[in-house]
Symmetry: D2
Subunit: 335 residues, 4 copies
Amino acid sequence: MTRIAVLGTGRIGRMHAENIASHPRAKLAGVYDIHAPAAREVAAKLGVQEFESVEAVLGSSDVDAVLIATSTPTHADLIERSVAAGKAILCEKPIDLSLDRVNACATKIAGTDLPIMLGFVRRFDSGHAGVRRAIESGQIGDLHQVTITSRDPGMAPDDYIEVSGGIFRDMTIHDFDMARFILAEEVTELTATGSRLVDPALMQRCDDYDTVTVVLKTASGKQAIITNSRRAVYGYDQRIEAFGSAGMAISENRPMDHVRLYAAAFTDRAAPLKNFFIDRYADAFAAEISAFVDAVEQGRPVPVGFEDGRQALILAEAAIRSVRENRTVKISEIG
Amino acid sequence: MTRIAVLGTGRIGRMHAENIASHPRAKLAGVYDIHAPAAREVAAKLGVQEFESVEAVLGSSDVDAVLIATSTPTHADLIERSVAAGKAILCEKPIDLSLDRVNACATKIAGTDLPIMLGFVRRFDSGHAGVRRAIESGQIGDLHQVTITSRDPGMAPDDYIEVSGGIFRDMTIHDFDMARFILAEEVTELTATGSRLVDPALMQRCDDYDTVTVVLKTASGKQAIITNSRRAVYGYDQRIEAFGSAGMAISENRPMDHVRLYAAAFTDRAAPLKNFFIDRYADAFAAEISAFVDAVEQGRPVPVGFEDGRQALILAEAAIRSVRENRTVKISEIG
Amino acid sequence: MTRIAVLGTGRIGRMHAENIASHPRAKLAGVYDIHAPAAREVAAKLGVQEFESVEAVLGSSDVDAVLIATSTPTHADLIERSVAAGKAILCEKPIDLSLDRVNACATKIAGTDLPIMLGFVRRFDSGHAGVRRAIESGQIGDLHQVTITSRDPGMAPDDYIEVSGGIFRDMTIHDFDMARFILAEEVTELTATGSRLVDPALMQRCDDYDTVTVVLKTASGKQAIITNSRRAVYGYDQRIEAFGSAGMAISENRPMDHVRLYAAAFTDRAAPLKNFFIDRYADAFAAEISAFVDAVEQGRPVPVGFEDGRQALILAEAAIRSVRENRTVKISEIG
Amino acid sequence: MTRIAVLGTGRIGRMHAENIASHPRAKLAGVYDIHAPAAREVAAKLGVQEFESVEAVLGSSDVDAVLIATSTPTHADLIERSVAAGKAILCEKPIDLSLDRVNACATKIAGTDLPIMLGFVRRFDSGHAGVRRAIESGQIGDLHQVTITSRDPGMAPDDYIEVSGGIFRDMTIHDFDMARFILAEEVTELTATGSRLVDPALMQRCDDYDTVTVVLKTASGKQAIITNSRRAVYGYDQRIEAFGSAGMAISENRPMDHVRLYAAAFTDRAAPLKNFFIDRYADAFAAEISAFVDAVEQGRPVPVGFEDGRQALILAEAAIRSVRENRTVKISEIG
């Protein structure tokens, strides 16, 4: 049993706490939130301890690992403190919005052999992982092109957008990780295109974009194309297509159920798509906990680690530079 | 070049005339209709001769073959006369609504080696024929169960229904032929179930049914299930599923085009189905002409002949008896 | 918290025990199996009590309800004893293979207001339930025809088949319940067709069938068609299609994941179907526990009860008589 | 009747000749090819005149229009001569591989009111045109992103590639036209990425690419992404996806037929894709002739004209510059 405490009991922390609580090989060691009533409610509901401080969590001998689901600006700090306290870490993305801060954190924790896993949950989706497996097993031959479609069902609230670090660091970062995961070769250059089409006024105010396309290229010439939108009215659109010398593999969208309807007005209508990430990636979030427990218990390397978080942020930085300067950017220019 | 005259220029005769006119190995030798202006219009449009009588058609040395698309009660008579005149025949289904009349016709034309082909057009559909090919090539192993879904997009006019001979002779007859085509083994018994759900008053008046299910069985135990409805509001529903020891083959519905739509109100909507038989089976009608020309020119046996028309009618008679007597009927009871 | 003890820790009992253990509103009160080591293993794994006897379970004040997953011949007896002990019941299907025994059980427990729920798990499948919801909400108008395709991925072992009570009581019984669930009107007559195509020798020996079709009809003329096979080599084939005056709703098969593959050899290949009932209906089994807990905690009526189990068995008896006597059977002839 | 002569009776010219011959409102006025036997064979097969020279065609009073399907380097010249001769023109793409030559041709024919239509056949595909119609009718709201996937089933012969003008002028040019057709707003800049993955040696020799991605942007910020490969082993991959503020429309691939196969080895396999452009766009080629005849007979503007051909070539030139200089190129830099 891996005893995991959850730091941060917002929507995503609460979901992780429930997943840990019902995991056969994990034990929810307790929860903490800077807003105590939030932690208290989750603790009561799941019948576990409410920690009163981060210190209490990190000092507890009943805690093997921490899951960091607090607000982004606290992540790097909590990683450093958790490493110092000898706790294994599963940290929600991103490590930090600042690459400098991430690099400083990397320096500080250098040399630790504690498992530090990044919460790029999509790697644990059976569809996306299935595409990678199809490649690894040779089913589509040498990889040539990867197309990643990733559109949120709707705009986040304005105040979320304002502190999000911008679409590339907040939303595309998942797709940068997917591109690296599927390409299995480092990206050497990229070109990003940004438009303000969903909410031009807000985007103008934040110097941000709501509709972006990024083309990434590796040294051997593999291409990956990411298309993002902050709002797809038909639902959470999450697809990956990998094209190679011997075929193509596609990870398709997930409807809520498998009912199709036919009527005079429409003919053949599928169920709506699963609504946003907690539903869409529910199985993946559970598999992520399993992978983390495997790493902690069996000393296996984490399947996605700190450096993966850093690399995805580097691609986000490159994309920001690309869209600002309207040019192709070499990844070696960053960091 | 096979020179074919079309008898009957109603909707289906006109379509056949156009198909013959544009067929590379056929020549439209002219058209005839009991209602002269109808024939005249088609003749003018296609630039061919208008025959003034059946005698003129059958007596013409410029006519190798006739396509019989007149009203049902005239079919048997025209077959007999065409055989007497030495013309090859492609006759729309059914041969006649009366099995006695069909048997009499069979006796009369016995011994002819003229090609006499029945217009069971669905045999020439690439999907349905593809299912049969999958069976013949062993792709699904030994055949166990066949499911035929066949629903019209809407009720025919009352006066059509009243002279149609009832749903089994008029509509299911196509499915009986499909069952025989896919089973490739004669049916030995069947059970039919009829309901009045679409238009109960009309069905009551005609002693007919608008919603039927027929289960057919062969000597070796193969099963075929036909479901019919006179009205599917979502369009012309035409599917065949063949299940066997090594797999399953499905001939799917045909959308009008390959556009899918996604919107807030529905998510993933396909194009409407092709609208009724002239659209849905357009390719099959053209292939039917080719098969007929092959039979005439190359002396090949017709792929679907008089006896197939007779057998389908026998199954219709058995179904009528089954539904009236509410019992399983052996095919040997009929005829 | 509803405290549920599981009787019987075979494959299905073990799955139920795990589902109860991880259910937020249920508590696994312990497990029992006639083969003690089997219970011990599950008890140890899930950290719960192993009961030494049925008496111990039924006598425990820590047990609110029992889930009966023992062998079929013990079901009726355990229902009677559980009712006598005042425990709520969730019993795996069937109640018994003998309708007389079921009727006797019904008499014995008459008047109890304890929740007694039957494990017709498919009612809790989001797809099948979605079809019913589409009907209830009027999306397909008046129901006319229901098509239920239900094929196992492979033959059960010979010794299972031999004591199964035959395909109609063992396998089709689920589809009889589905037919009743979707039709929402009692069946008045049926015609069953049976063939021996998958394993003729075994079927002959057991006086059983491996390939069956059943057509059911209600008083108002609604039709339901069930097709079963003991072996579909492509996987567990579970589909329901409901056709009505205003449209059609289809509950589709479930692929293992949403990856599609395209290659030179095949073009567009879907993932394999979910493998048999524990995978295919995993969500439904969890939802079933929730529905049971709702009934126990909130005093709501069970969504599927003893009488549903009895009615499905009556349809199985009618089907057996129909196939033996090769005739349409009125349901009123049975019981 | 529009009397059309076909210049060039290679594979595509022959297909056009057949389509014209069987078109109800067109008449094949004859054929010409620089290689006389090729023309003779087609003329004989279709029962039309073989012209001995271009002069004979252009001088004939029995010719209203010419369809230019000769080799690319002759197109601009034949356009100029046909205009001089007062013939309406349907010319296969591209006008010429050199933008200078195209501009010179434009100057020379300036002021003519003869219909001059460019053979961008994909505009007449019911799926692609259906996507545009969905946009025009407001079904997906304001357009944000267009994704065009276009992959050939296999490499053309080396000697074809060597004179093709490169992938952007030869293959992507169709997609540039599709982008303009769907975007319905002029492109202002683009970034092209090219790789040598299918046949690196040949591509090196030709200074060409076999795997390309192009991102195009309009003044208002609409984005279009084109992905091309010279070889998709699973078949001719032709898809368009348009994403907007109110939804998404997708033009899907076309299987050869609508048969699906399920077996132990694969589960649910679709039919192969239609094989290359003559099959895939067969309906579109026929619709193209109709549109041309409409323009000639009714004096309607051609739906896709000389300037569309020129604009597509400008985008190809911009893409070549972009990939060579590895930077975003403004369209205003070209021409």
